[in-house]
């Protein structure tokens, strides 16, 4: 690779992120075409994918060397000290180049080779079939049909080819409406609720300005209302704060005027835009990265970042959707400005509340594929896959995952998948290892020929499904058909396992979840074993009944031997794979850094009392 000048640097220190005494591990740093790798003296490896790197910073030179601070999109933060400045500079420059590619073709996905042949690759891409999914929902039907209006991406470039619209909406109406909607994103079906015959539809903001109107658009909305035989009025949910929506009117955009549309009920839900979300997360990460953070700074930082407020806003909007459908059987049309960020969040989360299928491993993939990938959430721009406008980067999808996590906390038995699944998906949103999240819309993906040149993430996750299953999942419980979460503020908590994923010192040292998951697995194995042994016993019994006489004779001659007994004991002990690794407490090994930090706190606050030669020097071991 032309960007790599130094491939290996020895005697590099990896600083402990939270240690106030600059505790560190020494090891060797390797730079490969795809990863930055650090191997410490205990042979522990830390792999960092170049695409995960959000920022590289060279800090002012210190006596021990040149500090290099790397922050990753998966919230890993590493702080190296490279002994020689020149090495540091080389690595710094290489990483700058490698972490920001100019062309899609240079991304990891185009070189990643999991040793599959073309037909396996294609099969992988076919795993999620959205036509199949719409069929599952119950469309097409007498009220909804597949429209071929966008077959050639002629009406809307950022929509998929296949769109479902009310049967009574003719093509001219669709075309007319699309001209009245920002980026041509006219109202289409996102989710159809079969029992209630109500729909969640999505679009972008209307180009209404202060007074413009569009008869076709009004017709299309009316068609959506009419497609619902139960309830004639529909909700139009503008997910933006009212002020933002009003400001858009000056630019010739805006929101629906209730007077122009029959039977709509208009509603703002006040989710902030991508820029607010980006800086909110930035603030949150800044606070949490502080060394020696105190409790009140943590909570005031959490508050002033506004992060949990935003999460709650998204959740409340989704609940609004679910209630409209469940309680009133009313259809809902959702939009924001362009209809690919907040709209995707709210539609997908709303569907997840309504439909337990989306809470399964496969269903969740389908949901992401439908409301995010196919409807043109700009994954590449939002996660900054290519070197581009940093103002387009925003954690919109991360927020969606966090909302789902909050639901898994409130309903621990309602989801087939676990937290690791969410974290793994988040990892690959940024990794550029698979083709799914490259590009910003389906059209772009087709042009990139992703299905021929890259692999799909989903089959790999499915192969690894065991890791992502929730052992407490109760698929049968009727109670979990529709989720009704409680959004009282105290139900929202900081998601440590996401934002401190790699800061193991902050995590519990034993995981109930892993143990139960393992036990669940083991139970399945044991059930097999039991069947197996029982059949063997049966065989023996059958054999024995054949010659009972002999057996009785022999029994009297050969009493049970003591040797046998001991061997039995031995068998019982090694019966099952020992799960010691799960039970091991990480904090108990001497390399652990936790205990020393209590001491640092006192040595810092009371320097007058603890003398240097005795207190500090000895206490920090």
């Amino acid at each position: 690779m032309e960007h790599i000048r130094t491939t290996k640097v020895e005697q590099v220190k990896l600083l402990d992120r939270f240690s106030t005494s600059n505790k560190s591990l020494t090891g060797t740093l390797y730079l490969t075409a795809t990863h930055l790798l650090f191997i410490d003296s205990h042979q522990k490896e830390t792999w960092i994918l170049h695409h995960h790197i959000a920022s590289v910073e060279k800090l002012p030179l210190t006596t021990s060397g040149c500090p290099l601070l790397i922050q990753c999109k998966n919230f890993r933060t590493v702080h190296f000290i490279v002994p020689r400045e020149r090495d540091c500079h080389d690595i710094y420059n290489s990483l700058l180049q490698l972490s920001k590619q100019a062309k899609y073709e240079d991304l990891y996905a185009f070189s990643y080779n999991p040793k599959q042949n073309d037909s396996e690759r294609l099969q992988g891409w076919q795993l999620i079939d959205l036509a199949e999914e719409y069929k599952r929902m119950g469309v097409p039907n007498s009220n909804w049909q597949l429209s071929d209006a966008n077959r050639e991406y002629k009406i809307c470039e950022t929509y998929p080819r296949e769109l479902y619209v009310p049967r009574i909406a003719s093509k001219p109406i669709i075309v007319g409406s699309s001209k009245f909607r920002s980026k041509g994103r006219f109202p289409v079906l996102s989710y159809y609720h079969q029992d209630k015959e109500a729909a969640i539809c999505r679009c972008s903001q209307p180009l209404s300005g202060f007074s413009a109107r569009c008869l076709e658009d009004e017709h299309l909305l009316q068609a959506i209302s009419k497609a619902n035989p139960v309830n004639r009025y529909m909700y139009v949910v503008d997910t933006r704060p009212k002020l933002n929506a009003m400001a858009n009117r000056a630019a010739g955009k805006g929101y629906e005027n209730e007077d122009n549309y029959s039977n709509i009920r208009f509603q703002f839900v006040g989710i902030e835009n991508i820029h607010v979300m980006r800086s909110s997360l930035q603030k949150l990460l800044e606070v949490n990265g502080t060394k020696g953070l105190c409790v009140s700074d943590f909570y005031s930082g959490l508050e002033s970042s506004g992060w949990l407020r935003h999460i709650k806003a998204v959740m409340d909007a989704a609940i609004f959707l679910a209630k409209a459908i469940m309680v009133e059987s009313a259809s809902v049309l959702v939009h924001c400005s362009d209809g690919w960020d907040r709209t995707s969040q709210v539609c997908s989360l709303g569907s997840l509340l309504l439909d337990s299928y989306y809470r399964t491993v496969k269903g969740f993939m389908v949901l992401i594929e439908k409301d995010w990938i196919s409807f043109g959430h700009k994954f590449s721009e939002r996660s900054g896959h290519l070197d581009g406008d940093t103002k387009e980067v925003s954690p919109v999808f991360t927020q969606f995952l966090e909302c789902v996590w909050h639901l898994t906390e409130q309903f621990p038995q309602a989801f087939e998948f676990n937290e690791a699944f969410l974290l793994q998906i988040h990892e690959h949103i940024h990794s550029c290892q698979f083709g799914n999240f490259l590009g910003n819309c389906q059209k772009e993906r087709e042009e990139l020929k992703l299905k021929e040149k890259t692999y799909s993430l989903w089959p790999f996750l499915l192969d690894d499904q065991k890791k992502y299953l929730n052992p407490l999942y109760n698929s049968k419980s009727q109670r979990f058909t529709v989720l009704d979460p409680n959004t009282v503020s105290f139900n929202f908590k900081f998601w440590r396992n996401m934002y401190h994923q790699f800061d193991r010192t902050l995590h519990p040292r034993q995981s109930v979840f892993n143990i139960v998951m393992h036990m669940n697995e083991q139970n399945k194995q044991l059930e097999e074993d039991i069947k197996d042994i029982e059949s063997k016993i049966k065989q023996h019994r059958n054999k024995q009944t054949e010659d009972v006489l002999t057996k009785e004779l022999l029994n009297s001659v050969h009493p049970e031997s003591p040797v046998l007994k001991t061997s039995l004991c031995f068998k019982e002990q090694t019966l099952l794979p020992v799960n010691d690794a799960l039970r091991t407490i990480e904090g108990s090994n001497p390399a652990d850094n936790r205990y020393s930090d209590y001491a640092e706190e006192f040595s810092k606050s009371e320097p007058t009392v603890v003398s240097l030669e005795y207190g500090v020097a000895r206490m920090t071991c």
């Binding site: 909570y299 009282v488 034993q510 022999l554 061997s567 039995l568 936790r594 209590y598 009371e606």
Partner: protein
């Protein structure tokens, strides 16, 4: 008897009870000397039995002749009673007020309670100091039991029997007692078998402004040091506070007089600061209408988790001195009955696997809280709702339990007990049918003849049927020192206590049940496999000789 005078209206019909997460119940309200009872007289509905001593505060209001009494309990629950008739309502309210604030301990329910269960093991004798000492005496001969406080004369807040260095005689102890706050001379709290280091605790030294010293005191604590070794004194007050204490006759150990000891000051809050913190926290948790910013700012302003962090950090420091530094420590604050005990007991949780078992934890509470003279009666007299604030009320024990819960969350397989056990201890410290938490120290308990007149909490808790509820199904004993993380990101609000009455935990409870099922099923399958394997092996041996006779 006296109670009858306090109960103006013993019974009202058509009272409606509102409680969190239950439908309203209409029924008959009865007041007895110790309980408020509401019964719908239908088998299907659960009755409400509320101990008067659990009531922290009541509010009343009227709409026409319909009165409403809002009862706020020490366990933070709030219930509402709608009582028809103004007079009845006023009578009930004033009776509750009188009965929930009885002055005399001997009128408390434990003196009247007759257990409905058979006592298998008398809890009053479950954790005798002599037995506890036996656990150490096999490992060390440097310590002895002293009966100097038999009559509670030397130190009114100490138990009759304490553990002191063998080389220090009772005469010297008497002198040391006069040099320590409340007569609380340094005694052994914990002996760490791994390296022979110890935790001692005491009251502050009474150095005063002129730097008084006491040779016997110095000798006593030096007697615990190995030759050439140094120890640490952990003062749970900031240096500033400790210095100010000198003006009131208290103080701290001067370097000059204790050259073998290094002093470390930590700042653990006490009294009204903690009480205020609790009041703010409970208020924040009870208001469901708070938006996110307000909730987070209220949570922060309560400072509760700051206190948790401070206490845990100090306990970790103490444990670190012992385990990592191989140094003995002496811990004290002012009186040595609050923050001192938080630190000594939590350090043992961290260091000692025994204190993470149910029996061991009970022994710890008995030793480090009850016998060590934590004034439960004073500290738990009122809780978060009461307006008449007394300066000696403070949620010291609750903070300790919260800290244990935080460690339990971080090491969910290392404790034999579960969260439920901690909650039950909190409930019984507030209000109980058992005598265990009555009185402020052993001396008072002795005078009250609690052992003869009341039942011990441990007699009930340690029954197999009760124990099963408190047992952690994931427990697997480990002998390791468990170092918790004290980072704010690792600490959490204890929902089981503070949000208990504010949100339904139905789904969490069901998930817990499911987890227990998986674990039980696992045990069952393992047992079955073992039996089958044995059968198979027997069959195989029966077959084998047949093949080659």
């Amino acid at each position: 008897m006296e109670f009858a005078e306090l109960i103006k209206t013993p019974r009202v019909d058509s009272v409606v009870l509102h409680r969190p997460f239950y439908p309203a119940v209409e029924g008959t309200l009865c007041l007895t000397g110790h309980h408020l009872i509401l019964s719908s007289r239908q088998d299907s509905t659960e009755e409400l039995w509320l101990l008067h001593s659990n009531i922290d505060a009541i509010d009343k209001r009227f709409v026409g002749s319909l009165g409403t009494i809002i009862i706020k309990c020490k366990d933070f629950r709030i219930i509402q009673l709608d009582i028809p008739g103004m007079e009845e309502c006023l009578n009930i309210a004033s009776s509750i007020e009188a009965l929930s604030t009885l002055d005399s301990i001997t009128l408390m329910y434990p003196f009247f309670y007759r257990p409905m269960f058979e006592v298998i093991e008398d809890g009053w004798h479950s954790f005798l100091p002599e037995q506890e000492f036996e656990l150490y005496s096999s490992a060390t001969s440097e310590w002895r039991l002293s009966y100097i406080n038999k009559e509670f004369a030397v130190c009114p807040s100490y138990p009759p029997i304490v553990i002191v260095p063998k080389s220090i005689d009772d005469e010297a102890l008497r002198k040391v007692a006069s040099f320590r706050h409340g007569g609380r001379f340094p005694v052994l709290s914990y002996y760490y078998k791994k390296n022979g280091m110890v935790i001692m605790r005491s009251g502050q030294p009474l150095t005063g402004t002129n730097g008084r010293r006491c040779k016997e005191d110095e000798k006593l604590i030096n007697a615990t040091l190995r030759a050439g070794k140094r120890g640490y004194i952990i003062d749970t007050r900031s240096l500033n506070v400790a210095q100010q204490a000198r003006a009131k006759g208290g103080g701290f150990e001067q370097e000059a007089h204790y050259p073998q000891w290094r002093r470390i000051h930590k700042s653990i809050e006490r009294y009204h600061v903690l009480q205020e913190s609790l009041i703010k926290l409970v208020e924040a948790c009870n208001d469901q209408t708070h938006n996110m910013d307000r909730w987070l700012s209220k949570l922060e302003a309560s400072n509760w988790l700051t206190h948790v962090k401070e206490i845990l950090t100090t306990a970790c420091l103490a444990a670190q001195c012992i385990d990592r530094e191989g140094a003995s420590i002496l811990i004290h604050g002012t009186e040595g009955t609050d923050s001192t005990l938080q630190v000594t007991s939590l350090a043992q949780i961290i260091l000692d696997p025994r204190s993470r078992t149910i029996r061991g934890f009970e022994a710890l509470v008995e030793r480090e809280w009850l016998q060590a003279g934590h004034p439960f009666q004073q500290r738990c007299a009122q809780s978060a709702y009461c307006s008449s604030k007394q300066k000696w009320e403070a949620p010291v024990f609750l903070l300790f339990l919260d800290c244990v819960w935080q460690i339990l969350r971080q090491f969910p397989c290392s404790f034999e007990f579960n969260e439920r056990f901690l909650i039950v201890l909190f409930e019984h410290a507030c209000a109980s049918q058992f005598g265990t938490f009555l009185g402020n120290n052993e001396g008072e308990r002795c005078k009250l003849k609690l052992q003869q007149k009341t039942m011990s909490l441990w007699s009930w808790v340690n029954r197999p049927s009760e124990l099963s509820q408190f047992t952690n199904p994931l427990f697997e004993a480990n002998n390791l020192v468990i170092w918790p993380s004290v980072a704010p990101q690792s600490l959490q609000l204890w929902e089981g206590i503070f949000l208990r009455w504010n949100r339904s935990s139905k789904y969490q409870d069901e998930a817990y049940e499911e987890m227990v099922n998986i674990i039980e099923y696992n045990k069952e399958l393992q047992a079955k496999v073992n039996v089958l394997r044995r059968q198979l092996a027997e069959l195989e041996t029966e077959d084998r000789p047949r093949q080659s006779p």
